[in-house]
């Protein structure tokens, strides 16, 4: 009876692992197959070939696309963290009239469907002369990351001990000194977690990137992958698409594996406590 239970549990764990990892595994396998081998369903290529990985960069400006994504996501994260740090200090540590309303507004904005700002944002982007340029994506992605950053940092900031701040106030520290000299060093891990989550959401953003970019060279990675086209209209280059998918996924998977504990605490701080 005992070993039946154990075996059933082991089976359950195996099924969970296969379900979770198989699509990723299959993408890797397919990316290593070329020619007609791609169209045979074999669990591993006879002779793994890297042709698809070089083709991604020659058939498409994929290097440029990756650079665009890194640039946009980094800029968005830095802006969100800088703005979010002071805003969350005010929201977490200072009692003032209108604070709850502001917090509700921040939460409300993070629930916005992107589509609801799309036409207004399009007009704004065109008016600023950002259409088909990367600043359009930096600007528009802030709507995804800034409310989220403020919200999560506020949650973390609330948990810092009161005594530290009191001691600083008695010593005559200004709020600015408290934020930069007392809290910022303590918030390092929280900033890293929040930044990583914001980076992932900016990296994955699709709707704005699809709408505000026109030329291949301005596209970010998700748009480039979604619009990958083959040599002819009838041929989808699946091997190349899978290679591109693996290239952009591996760094994310590595990051997630390294920071998994922090990611979990960040996600739950953002969702459950909210």
């Amino acid at each position: 009876m005992r070993w039946v239970k154990k075996a059933a549990f082991a089976l359950l764990l195996t099924v969970i692992s296969i379900y979770t990892l198989f699509p990723f595994y299959w993408a890797i396998v397919s990316s290593l197959k070329t020619g007609s081998e791609l169209f045979e369903v074999a669990p591993w290529p006879k002779e793994p070939a890297w042709g698809n990985y070089t083709a991604v960069f020659t058939a498409q400006p994929f290097g440029q696309n990756i650079f665009n994504s890194v640039l946009v996501a980094t800029a968005v994260v830095v802006l969100s963290l800088v703005l979010g740090l002071t805003a969350s200090f005010a929201l977490a540590r200072i009692q003032f009239r209108g604070r709850s309303t502001l917090l509700l507004t921040v939460l409300g904005v993070s629930m916005f469907p992107q589509i609801a700002v799309l036409s207004g944002m399009f007009e704004l982007v065109r008016w600023l002369g950002f259409y088909n340029k990367l600043p359009s994506l930096i600007l528009s992605n802030l709507i995804l990351t800034l409310p989220f950053t403020v919200w999560v940092l506020t949650t973390f900031m609330r948990e810092l001990p009161k005594d530290l701040e009191e001691a600083a106030i008695v010593d005559g520290a200004t709020p600015w000194t408290i934020v930069t000299k007392v809290f910022l060093p303590l918030l390092g891990p929280a900033m890293a977690t929040t930044g990583l989550l914001a980076f992932i959401s900016a990296w994955n953003e699709f709707l704005f990137a699809l709408t505000f970019s026109q030329s291949d060279s301005v596209r970010t990675v998700p748009v480039a992958i979604a619009l990958f086209s083959g040599g002819s209209a009838f041929e989808t280059p699946w091997g190349v698409i899978m290679a591109a998918s693996v290239i952009v996924t591996v760094p994310l998977v590595v990051l997630v594996l390294i920071f998994q504990r922090k990611i979990i605490s960040g996600l739950t701080a953002g969702a459950v406590k909210g």
Binding site: F9, T20, I115, S119, M121, I143, A226
Partner: protein, 321 residues
């Protein structure tokens, strides 16, 4: 940024009583309070300005466009048409098809995600070797961009060369290859499959976090009362998980209602397999009808705002401590 260097003393004390030191400088004199309130607004100002620019203004413009006949070719020439654009959306049977698709999608995938998330969370909550590794592995689908996971699955769902058809054929479950992404009924299932795969980890994490906060002694008591694992789950675990579970579910519903990427990549935009956001975007940029498209977007916004209100009430969001 002047700050009183002298110790803070409350001014309430009468002549007879010695001035009473406040219990905490954070609740100090009104001068300090004013100073802190001023600092709060200065700290908030940049964020508020950015939020107004990227959220408030575009949202207001979208609402405004909903009442105009704005066209992409010449947005300056748009005219106020009252409820005409909104009526155009409401009179369009295609819109109602997308509404039905979106709600069905949200319902089916959130139910599946919740059930699967619960099963996986319960499994990961048990103690076994390699638990940390499996917990990390479960996060992988969540980290992969939606577009990329949709492409990975589109390849697996390929009608001629896809691994899904190959496996089902070899198991004898189907007699001929199925066009998973081309046929509307099947395509809907394919989209749900991708979404469930991608977002179940999120559900798992939230449930797991809640499970780990449950007190152990309740289970002890249940075991002494002779409750088996299944009864313990339904009578002890589930009732205690209710709060966090409701929050997670409504959170996911909100997300599913604004779905766009998975449908766009997997089905390529036929009306029968399009979500509301896809409809709005198509009207705006493919048909160039910014006005009508914005009206559809505003309707979707209204629906989501309604659900957000429900989220606030059900999740009993506590603001301020």
């Amino acid at each position: 940024m002047a700050q009183p260097a002298t110790p803070i003393v409350s001014g309430k004390g009468g002549a007879s009583a010695p001035p009473e030191a406040p219990s905490s400088p954070l609740e100090g004199t009104s001068a300090l309070l004013r100073e802190r309130t001023r600092a709060a607004w200065m700290f908030l100002a940049p964020t508020l300005v950015v939020m107004l620019v990227v959220a408030g203004w575009p949202l207001a413009r979208t609402f405004w466009f909903s009442f105009t006949d704005a066209n992409l070719t010449d947005m300056a020439a748009s005219q106020f048409v009252g409820l005409d654009s909104i009526r155009q959306v409401l009179d369009d049977p295609d819109w109602w098809t997308t509404v039905w698709t979106t709600f069905r999608f949200a319902g089916v995938s959130v139910v599946l995600e919740t059930v699967l998330g619960m099963i996986i969370a319960l499994a990961l909550n048990a103690k076994f070797g390699g638990r940390g590794l499996l917990r990390a592995a479960v996060l992988v689908p969540w980290a992969i961009p939606t577009v990329v996971s949709a492409k990975m699955w589109a390849w697996m769902f390929n009608d001629i060369y896809g691994v899904v058809n190959a496996v089902l054929l070899s198991l004898g479950l189907i007699s001929e290859p199925m066009a998973w992404t081309a046929e509307p009924g099947l395509a809907f299932g394919a989209v749900v499959a991708v979404d469930v795969w991608k977002t179940t980890p999120f559900m798992t994490l939230l449930i797991l976090a809640a499970l780990q906060m449950l007190p152990g002694d309740v289970y002890e008591a249940a075991r002494i009362d002779g409750a088996g694992p299944i009864r313990a789950f339904f009578q002890v675990t589930l009732p205690m998980l209710k709060g966090p579970l409701m929050v997670a579910i409504i959170f996911r519903i909100l997300d599913a209602l604004r779905v766009f990427d998975v449908f766009f990549v997997l089905t390529g935009g036929g009306t029968e397999t399009m979500p509301m956001a896809g409809y709005a975007r198509q009207r705006m940029f493919e048909y160039q009808e910014i006005g009508v498209g914005s009206a559809a977007a505003s309707l979707l916004f209204a629906i989501i705002a309604l659900f957000t209100a429900v989220y606030m009430v059900v999740g009993r969001v506590k603001l301020g401590d």
